[in-house]
């Protein structure tokens, strides 16, 4: 199902009036759809009382309290005790003390975020590395049962994650991979490799075979021809595939919730627990959510022209 190039718009003549109506309706939808995102961004900069006022506050005095609460753990103290400490040393100490709190140390948010980065990049690298090799193999060589193997690779995605988590939980417990970054990297690699093979195979298929054949005639071996002629042309495909794999690993929740706890926990299962820590601390949730979602929003904008391909496993190319 290969779509025609971008320029081939199917509607020959569109009147100015119908264009205007379309513009108004689409803009209205986009504005409504973006309200929840703007709202959570704004909540990160509210004070806790402002975040639960009614009617909801659109205009408010911005504060970094949410971000301070996100990155620190605090203890409640009496005003007398706080006075006895002397003047606050930093701006964030000062913010905490206004609410009768004393900062007792960093929170676990930074570690969880770092775990997300390590596991995300680790699994993306492995999945794209394996996927590049397999995609080239499937695209260029006669492989027995090729279609069956490709379908098998795709079908591993049809299992509900909880169903996969049961035996993985038992297996990891036996071999000591429970709650380790390595265990999560291997698991996410296995999930992502199906996407990576299917997407990258589409990219390799688009590279004309003539380049390699010319290299082979010049005396290069097959492996050298792959490294010197195919790989450089796959660059943009590899970049797009990497971002899709990274987004999956970054967003994944079910496995992380069930298979990690103290050590290797990533941000998605951690963010909901912020609500509990400070008793409905919505600004901290807003801050954590903002920091977590921001990279994805940026990647989405960068990837907008490859999106269609990524979300359909390469079935639809634009």
């Amino acid at each position: 199902m290969t779509a025609a190039p971008d320029k081939a718009f199917s509607v020959g003549t569109v009147s100015a009036r119908s264009k205007l109506i379309a513009a108004i309706l689409v803009t209205a939808y986009a504005l409504v759809a973006v309200i929840p995102l703007v709202w959570i961004l704004a909540t990160g900069f509210k004070s806790p009382p402002d975040s639960i006022s009614y009617p909801p506050k659109v205009l408010f005095q911005p504060t970094l309290e949410g971000y301070v609460n996100l990155f620190t753990s605090r203890t409640r103290q009496t005003p007398e005790y706080i006075k006895s400490l002397g003047p606050p040393k930093t701006w964030y100490d000062e913010l905490a003390r206004k609410r009768n709190m004393v900062i007792s140390g960093p929170s676990r948010f930074k570690d969880r975020y770092l775990n997300s980065v390590i596991i995300g990049f680790g699994s993306t690298f492995l999945a794209v590395f394996l996927g590049t090799l397999a995609a080239y193999g499937f695209s260029r060589f006669k492989v027995p049962l090729k279609d069956d193997l490709l379908f098998f690779i795709l079908s591993t995605r049809m299992m509900p994650p909880i169903a996969v988590a049961i035996p993985i939980f038992l297996m990891y417990r036996e071999i000591g991979l429970s709650d380790t970054a390595l265990g999560m990297i291997l698991l996410y690699t296995a999930v992502n490799v199906s996407l990576s093979v299917w997407l990258l195979k589409g990219f390799v298929d688009e590279i004309p075979k003539e380049y390699e054949e010319a290299a082979l005639v010049d005396g290069y071996s097959r492996l050298q021809a792959f490294v010197k002629t195919v790989l450089p042309q796959m660059r943009s495909g590899i970049a797009a595939t990497s971002i899709f794999c990274l987004i999956f690993a970054w967003n994944e929740y079910a496995f992380a919730l069930l298979l990690t706890s103290g050590q290797a926990q990533t941000a998605p299962p951690f963010i909901p627990t912020i609500i509990g820590e400070g008793g409905l601390d919505w600004p901290a949730v807003g801050a954590g959510t903002t920091l977590f979602l921001l990279p994805i929003v940026i990647f989405t904008v960068l990837l907008r022209n490859q999106l269609l391909r990524g979300i359909t496993f390469g079935a639809v190319r634009k």
């Binding site: 509607v11 591993t156 038992l170 690699t189 093979v197 097959r222 929003v297």
Partner: protein
Amino acid sequence: MSSSVSSPDKPRTVTGKVFALSDRAIAWLFISPTILLLLAINIFPLVWTIYLSFTNYRANQPGRAIRWVGTRNYERLLGNEDIWGYLQATAHFVLWTMLLQVVIGFGLALLINRNFKGASFWTTVILIPMMLSPAVVGVFWTYIYQPQTGIFSYIVNFFADVGPLDMIGSVDLAPWSIIIVDTWMWTPYIMLLCLAGLRSIPDYLYEAAEIDRANAWQKFFYITLPRVMPFLMLAVLFRGIENFKMFDMVVELTSGGPGSTTEVASINLKREAFEKWRTGYSSAFAIILFVTVFGLSNIYVKALNKVKQ
């Protein structure tokens, strides 16, 4: 690609000799790591799950002897009325989200395809929600849904005076709370695929219809719809499977409540496997779900191929 391409050229350099593997060897060298990884982390666990589904194993009591119980887990599951309730909740969720998303997504695609100024900018804005983490989306929608202070209840009350809306806590509204969030998140997906379908229609079809004096409805039903259909069905296949497995967002929004109104299949599976630790029983449930997804998508793919022809 036959072997005749590689056989005539002999490696001329030393490195050439090192790299001179036959095509066959390279094919297997390149493909086998992926297959091995999937065998270890997908197929071996699947076989293990099938085995466990015939036992009374409990993962929180690893020392206990595993006893073969035959098909008892499956009999219990199929005889359990609650299971049908969970499957019904899942079907309700899948059907409504697909219906709403197809209608809104297709409509948006038709509008965007009129190609007004700024269309590509607004398209990108609309696409953002579908790339976000469903679990984190669930968390911040609980804030938006707060009955007393949330902005959702406020906006609804701005237009209709219905009082505080307890979207998550009320039995009638809770299923809709997840349907709304899922529709917000995934309508762009259907839209994007419909748009690809619309852009694949060549102009001359419409020009020919114009000469035949077809009206707008005829053009839509005889040209647009049949051409977009394969794309639309592909989108519904992908989203249908994902929503059948839906877990993340529902856990964070309602965690199956109130009562078991929104207890979709995956939520119940998690409860049985990781809270009650009935590993054997939940393995059987997992197998039933997998077979269902697999069967439904196979039927659907057959229908899709018919439409394509």
